[in-house]
């Protein structure tokens, strides 16, 4: 335990009386794996060494777009120490994370689509030999024209980066309309139209991806890998390798940071499996930092146009949102990302009518995918900066304006998202008070400013990635007769503490110590499926599954103990390793004795629990993205110093309120909030995946030194308020914290820059060059702004129209509209 004064927590809690009863939940226990991590004993994927292990290297294309004419591997094969060389021919089956985007090959078969796309893989006795062999492979390419930007993808149909999608180089177009937009804008007193650009950036986990595969003499394959989604990797391997699923075991090793970057099945994972199958020896691959940049799947660059109508009091009458995503060369999660750029605009403030148009482009760059906040930081940036401009136009205080128009708890939005508990109001009030907002906003000297923004995030995607009716998370509990408890779950600890959450919840229900519980996770042979550590789903979903399994175990033990002590079952309480009579606490048995009694009565004690999210009220095509069992809320105020000479922005402090529902462990929640603010700060000020040369497709910064991320010097002070507005769908009321707190940071910083020096930077990262350009524009009497000029004109498909709940809609699309394919 960290601290001896664990007497209750947060004074915002929903359940005052219940808090006293909780012994583990809500308390700052250390993580169950914390000591292993602080003594160097945690085994990450690259720490695994097996006898006779070979090392693999992937040869990656240095051409951004080219046909593969010939690959000559003969010299590599001839090098002593080389055991196998494979190319695309050896792995002809395609795969991909989404069923609609099965567009990847472990090694390119006919074409390379970005610099870094792998074409061959080598297994050799050591890394040096593998590297040498890799360089002996000769590839002849026939160059193809590159597609380098969203604009080009829209304009140039041939050559296509991918042979599927909407048309040409447009991967996906969506057009959804909820409610009568004309009516909405006609009702507005003021309409604003703005364009924004959010540059792409990457996860940059400190651990480079690594995998070890072992194909054994019984034809069983085991893959240890730093992945956030062992279940999806298991499915992809089954498809690509032609082995029965029952012969493949995927073990996700503890991830040295993920942030979404280890959520796709990756080329290197497939390649080491194949190499192990060929050689019959274990094979390891560890990516170099440069390769991690090419794997990417990070934040999509998104260009946005936002048109919002408001009444004089700032209430929104209609919002029309367009987003254009640069997807890079492959599908990845991109279809989901596209929908996400249009999904969560409605869950913070009341938006009665809403239209969304989204387009994802294929370009010859590393593929984009999900990064912390998946598809949400970009539109949230546009929305929150625009609201700041609206407040300015209407001469309203941006905090008060937001507070007046919050979405109601337990309501249904125009796009059919079911809101549960909603603590955003409290978040805003706390940070306004804590930061002394009223005395700072518009009142600080030139060069100093404050800015506010809010956000919300899902607590788990309401739908699985592939269509099925099974639970999203499963837990098995085993109790042994000496009192040991084992929790098994497919969830993957990526540093967020999901192993600990399982232990805390089971310990709470069974009245035992979390450190007495053995947690077995992320192993497709030993653990029931959990879909993975993405979409902030784990605390809520595995938490509920663990809760159910533990309650079932408690019931068995209760019955056996009640019988033994001749007491009614309801009288029994579980705490301090005992099962006892609440009215007469000395009467009872130890937890281990309770297990013995139960095992004597029922046989071996094991229980299961599972969780399936509630059905979404939206029934229209596209309603699958956005629904969640619950939504977390955050509000942030940034205080900045802007040097008008250099354009340099320093964020001095961030106040952040986060509605967590209920902290399972407040100290770990604090850590997630601080980590989220940190990553948001990086995105706000410096992080960008940018390209140069060869018509802008060569990665500019594939290194930790050149890809700027905040060090201790850039990290700001963070003042955190935890708001506990318990949600009935969360375990003990808990909601997510892994992703939400990042979201308000970027717009809060942009709004603070405006407060400080009176210019708008409608783009992230907010670099000194952009601030200076905006200041220059202002001095020349031009609009005091830096940002994109506009968005491309494209032909959108007919909208899929859905009447809003307020208009009497039932969540289905209106029948008179032909559905575009």
């Amino acid at each position: 335990m960290t601290s001896s004064n664990n007497n209750g927590h947060g004074n915002n809690g929903a359940g005052g009386a219940r808090e006293k009863d909780l012994k583990v939940v809500g308390k700052p226990f250390r993580k169950v794996d914390a000591r292993a991590k602080c003594t160097g004993q945690t085994k990450f994927a690259d720490d695994i060494v097996l006898p006779r292990m070979l090392f693999a290297k992937l040869l990656r294309a240095h051409e951004p777009h080219a046909r593969i004419v010939k690959i000559d591997t003969s010299k590599a094969r001839a090098l002593p120490g080389v055991h196998a060389v494979i190319t695309g021919e050896d792995l002809p089956t395609s795969y991909g994370i989404l069923p609609v985007s099965q567009d990847e090959h472990a090694l390119c078969t006919d074409r390379v689509r970005f610099i870094g796309d792998p074409v061959a893989a080598v297994a050799a006795v050591d890394e040096d030999t593998a590297f040498e062999a890799m360089n002996l492979i000769e590839v002849e390419y026939e160059k193809l024209q590159t597609i380098t930007s969203i604009e080009e993808a829209i304009m140039i149909d041939e050559p296509r980066v991918q042979d599927y999608g909407e048309s040409g180089n447009v991967h996906k177009k969506v057009h959804l309309e909820f409610g009568d937009m004309d009516e909405g804008f006609a009702a507005a007193d003021h309409i604003r139209e703005d364009t924004f650009f959010y540059e792409g950036n990457t996860h940059l986990p400190m651990e480079q991806h690594a995998s070890v595969a072992h194909f054994d003499p019984d034809n069983k394959l085991t893959l240890w890998s730093s992945t956030q989604t062992p279940h999806y990797v298991h499915r992809a391997l089954t498809k690509v390798l032609g082995l029965p699923a029952a012969h493949i075991r995927v073990i996700a090793t503890p991830n040295g940071g993920g942030f979404g970057g280890k959520s796709d099945p990756f080329n290197h994972e497939v390649a080491v499996c194949k190499l192990s199958m060929i050689t019959g020896r274990p094979v390891k691959v560890t990516l170099t930092r440069e390769e991690v940049f090419y794997c990417h799947r990070g934040r999509h660059p998104v260009l946005m146009h936002v048109k919002t109508g408001v009444k004089r009091d700032g209430s929104i009458t209609a919002m029309d949102f367009q987003s254009f995503l640069d997807g890079g060369a492959y599908g990845s999660y991109g279809v989901a990302s596209t929908f996400y750029t249009g999904a969560l605009q409605t869950v913070t403030y009341d938006v009665p009518r809403y239209r969304f148009r989204g387009l994802r482009a294929f370009t010859n760059k590393p593929p984009c995918g999900p990064k912390r906040g998946h598809g949400t930081p970009q539109p949230r940036f546009g929305l929150e900066v625009q609201l700041d401009k609206i407040a300015d136009d209407l001469k309203l205080d941006p905090a008060e304006m937001r507070l007046k128009h919050l979405v109601k708890p337990y309501s249904l939005t125009a796009n059919y998202l079911r809101i549960g508990s909603m603590g955003l109001g409290k978040c805003i009030e706390k940070i306004v008070e804590g930061s002394d907002w009223k005395n700072k906003f518009h009142k600080l000297p030139y060069g100093k400013g404050v800015g506010l923004a809010c956000s919300s995030y899902i607590c788990g995607a309401g739908l699985p990635i592939y269509w099925n009716n099974m639970p999203h998370s499963g837990v098995q509990l085993g109790l042994d007769r000496q009192g040991g408890v084992r929790v098994q779950c497919g969830s993957t600890d990526i540093g967020q503490g999901s192993d600990s959450v399982l232990a805390y919840i089971v310990a709470e229900v069974l009245g035992i110590d979390p450190f007495d519980i053995r947690v077995v996770t992320a192993d497709t042979d030993l653990t029931p499926v959990d879909l993975g550590s993405y979409s902030s789903r784990v605390t809520l979903m595995t938490g509920n599954a663990a809760l159910q399994a533990a309650e079932r175990a408690r019931e068995l033990l209760s019955k056996a103990v009640a019988e033994k002590l001749s007491l009614p079952v309801e009288n029994l309480s579980f705490a301090d390793h005992r099962v006892f009579d609440v009215e007469n606490p000395e009467t009872g048995v130890t937890f281990a004795e309770a297990v013995v009694l139960a095992e004597s009565k029922y046989g071996t004690i094991g229980t299961v629990g599972s969780y399936t999210p509630p059905r979404s009220p939206g029934k229209f095509k596209g309603a699958g993205v956005g629904p969640s069992p619950a939504y977390s809320y955050s509000a942030a105020i940034a205080e900045v110093d802007v040097d008008a000479e250099t354009g340099f922005v320093t964020v001095e402090r961030v106040w952040i309120g986060h509605d967590i529902g209920q902290s399972i462990n407040p100290m770990l929640v604090m850590g997630q909030v601080e980590g989220g603010v940190y990553m948001g700060l990086g995105e706000a000020l410096m992080e960008e995946m940018t390209y140069r040369a060869n018509r802008n497709v060569v990665h500019k910064f594939p290194s930790l030194l050149e890809y700027k991320s905040p060090t201790t010097h850039e990290m700001c002070d963070v003042k955190t308020y935890l708001i506990e507005d318990a949600d009935p769908n969360g375990p003990f009321g808990a909601k997510e914290v892994g992703q939400g707190p990042l979201l308000p940071v970027m717009p809060a910083v942009a709004n603070a820059v405006y407060d400080a020096v009176g210019v708008r930077v409608d783009e992230v990262p907010i670099t000194p060059e952009k601030v200076l350009a905006a200041l220059r524009a202002k001095a020349q009497g031009k609009p005091a702004r830096f940002g994109p000029k506009g968005v491309p004109t494209v032909e959108w498909p007919e909208p899929l129209k859905v009447a809003t709940p307020a208009e009497g809609g039932d969540g289905r699309e209106m029948p008179r509209v032909a559905i575009h394919s």
């Binding site: 960290t2 601290s3 004064n5 927590h9 700052p28 250390r30 993580k31 794996d33 914390a34 000591r35 292993a36 991590k37 602080c38 003594t39 160097g40 004993q41 945690t42 085994k43 990450f44 690259d46 720490d47 060494v49 002593p80 120490g81 006795v125 050591d126 040096d128 030999t129 940059l204 400190m206 651990e207 480079q208 503890p254 040295g256 940071g257 930092r289 804590g434 540093g495 967020q496 503490g497 407040p666 100290m667 604090m670 601080e674 989220g676 603010v677 940190y678 990553m679 290194s703 930790l704 030194l705 991320s709 060090t711 201790t712 010097h713 990290m715 963070v718 955190t720 308020y721 935890l722």
Partner: protein, 176 residues
């Protein structure tokens, strides 16, 4: 087998207080020697180019990036890795506070931070927050935003000075 790996160097140095002998290909870095030839996996790597601080170890008590030091350069010198921080008496106070405060989220950067913090506290038992930031500025952490790390270092420093210290309430529960 690559030409470069055939001819092995053979040296002796002090590792976590014990004399070790090791043979390795002479071009290998200390990071590689520790992980590949001595099987000590506690020292991690994030770049192998001297950019992230993840691989930090102490060489004669001073922090170095083990990916930039040749294994050969440790001959006759003393190296401390995270595996050497705990003793039979228990964890080092820094390990204890890093574990207890949540300063290790994914834990991948943690060994590097621990050793650099140890070096700091050896030279300055009562560092200010600014001095801690300065000392740790060469180590990247993607998870924590550094704040829990500062708090863990401050708590360990206080305890090493013999003070009875706990994390401030606001660091655990947030502000009221």
């Amino acid at each position: 087998m690559s030409e470069r790996t055939k001819q092995k160097a053979h040296i002796e140095f002090t590792l976590n207080g014990e004399t070790v002998e090791v043979a390795f290909a002479p071009h290998k870095t200390l990071l590689e020697v520790l992980r590949e030839d001595l099987n000590l996996m506690g020292t991690k790597h994030g770049c192998e180019l001297g950019e992230c601080g993840t691989c930090a170890v102490l060489l004669n008590g001073r922090s170095v990036l083990s990916c930039l030091v040749l294994g050969l350069d440790t001959e006759g010198r003393s190296v401390e890795t995270v595996e050497g921080m705990a003793s039979a008496a228990g964890l080092h106070p820094l390990q204890e506070t890093f574990a207890d405060t949540g300063a290790a989220q994914c834990g991948y950067c943690t060994p590097g931070f621990l050793l650099v913090a140890k070096e700091l506290l050896a030279a300055n038992p009562d560092p200010t927050r600014e001095e801690i930031k300065e000392a740790l500025s060469g180590n990247l952490c993607r998870c924590t935003g550094y704040i829990k790390i500062y708090e863990a270092v401050e708590l360990a420093a206080a305890r090493m000075r013999g003070e009875e210290a706990e994390l401030p309430r606001a660091a655990v529960y947030g502000l009221d």
